[in-house]
Point group: C2
DNA sequence: CGTTTATTTGAAAACGCTCAAGCTCTGTGG
DNA sequence: CCACAGAGCTTGAGCGTTTTCAAATAAACG
């Protein structure tokens, strides 16, 4: 099963610069599969067998203990997941399930590792992809440790608005309980957080949120590029400079 | 300034397999510097100028907003920090300060990027290092989202005991407030968490903790390899299998 | 429509934070 | 050697946040 969608995959930055030979090696035993909504694609603690590429739909990365569960990320096209586990030849740290009917391209892990060994361009692309994912996760961790749930929601709204065109009309494209879990809170708490934000410039109607007074929401959210900005898929070529001015007292107050 | 310590750096897995030429290029304009305790080495939001290697002492990675601050990691020899920012040619997401007098080896960022482009072995080593750091951060994030502060402390104790030989005698090798921040809580809360754990198999005297009844502490902590195990510096070559058996209800409860 | 599922609301409890005071340890100067 | 200052840690009280449990409402689906 080797569809024409390889062209689509070729466009992924991860594969854009690899040699034709490497690309063929990576894709010839790979396959594209369409899954319905709610299917668990991988489970944490299983050995990493495939690199997964999301070509359509949406995939929720989650993890849990016996009693608790949390959403770590949501991957939309075109995105890759569990690259780190594949490279380290380790077990997955996260599980994945489809949130919508999704097209998933699966590449055998050993092909990925082999290609990384033999194709320098691929190795470099992997480095960039990994570094990006890593930085995104650090931002999430900072958000969890430095902010309250309501603040995370406010910043999530600002970012979602940007991604959806900046019209001020934000559509929540997932179940609210999934969003809650993504933001590290309970569904009940998310609901209350939305209520709270009504007095900070938003109106909400079902899955549609309107940012009525952006300035007020921003005032409340205090967005920080070092927490909220998406990792740029094409980082500055010049040596990024001047964003906000860091002002951290050398031994200022601690604590959450 | 190009000390004999290059031998020490050579041993770092990151540099072990690079060509002699690459290694020379990386180290010839680098320098080793000894810093006293409490020095801020880098600040978040500054452009990434150097890759830092900790050869002695300890370095705290932290980040903050105007009013809050949190410790994200503590790096001890021999460890590297802010590799991702260097590779992405981006600003740092974290600040760093020495917790003790520390020996830091600094390699110009552009040398690192150039070496990655030209030396495939180095690129591969970077991939492994990045993947490892990434997975560690995901484990931290999972810990933050899935556990209470006291649970994090209990698991931290179990891990520290392992790292210190498994004698049951754990020495806290940093200020408690730093540990508190690392674990995502206030110093007061850490103090209370220790008190709580007294009834779960530990005794504490200053910076020394004794795990008197490991079974009881483990019972409380419920350690999970997918959250607590350190990322193995030399991942299994066989394709890791059989750890615990993942048992996650496909759409089980969410929360926290 | 009726049934199921998701969301919201309410109340109580657990958790974590802040502020304040007291305690301990350490290092310094008398 | 002791007294004292400073820093770190602990303890207590109060409060705000978040979770949990329960129930009501709303939405989705056949």
């Amino acid at each position: 099963m080797r569809p024409e969608n390889t062209a689509q995959i070729r466009q992924l930055e991860l594969f854009a610069k690899v040699s034709e030979e490497t690309f063929r090696a990576l894709t010839e035993t790979s396959f594209l599969q369409r899954f319905p909504r709610g299917v668990v694609l991988i489970r944490e603690n299983e050995p990493a067998d495939f690199l997964h590429v999301v070509l359509g739909g949406a995939v929720e990365m989650f993890a849990g203990t016996e009693t608790r569960e949390t959403t770590l990320d949501i991957i939309r096209p075109i995105g890759v997941f569990i690259l780190a586990a594949v490279l380290n030849d380790e077990v997955y740290l996260q599980s994945a399930r489809t949130l919508e009917p999704s097209d998933i391209f699966m590449i055998p892990a050993q092909k990925v590792r082999f290609a990384m060994e033999t194709d320098a361009a691929f190795a470099r692309a992997i480095v960039m992809e990994l570094a990006r994912s890593y930085r995104r996760t650090i931002k999430d961790l900072k958000g969890m440790k430095l902010r309250t749930g309501t603040e995370r929601l406010a910043n999530w709204l600002l970012r979602a608005d940007k991604e959806q065109g900046g019209s001020g009309q934000v559509e929540i494209r997932m179940e609210k309980r999934t969003l809650a879990s993504r933001l590290g809170m309970t569904p009940e708490n998310l609901s209350r957080a939305f209520s709270t934000l009504k007095s900070h410039g938003i109106e909400i109607d079902g899955s549609k949120v309107e940012i009525v007074e952006p300035a007020i929401l921003i005032e409340f959210a205090r967005p920080d590029p070092l927490v909220d900005d998406p990792e740029d898929p094409f980082p500055a070529a010049d040596g990024g400079t001047n964003r906000k001015d860091a002002q951290i007292a050398d031994r200022g107050q601690r604590g959450q």
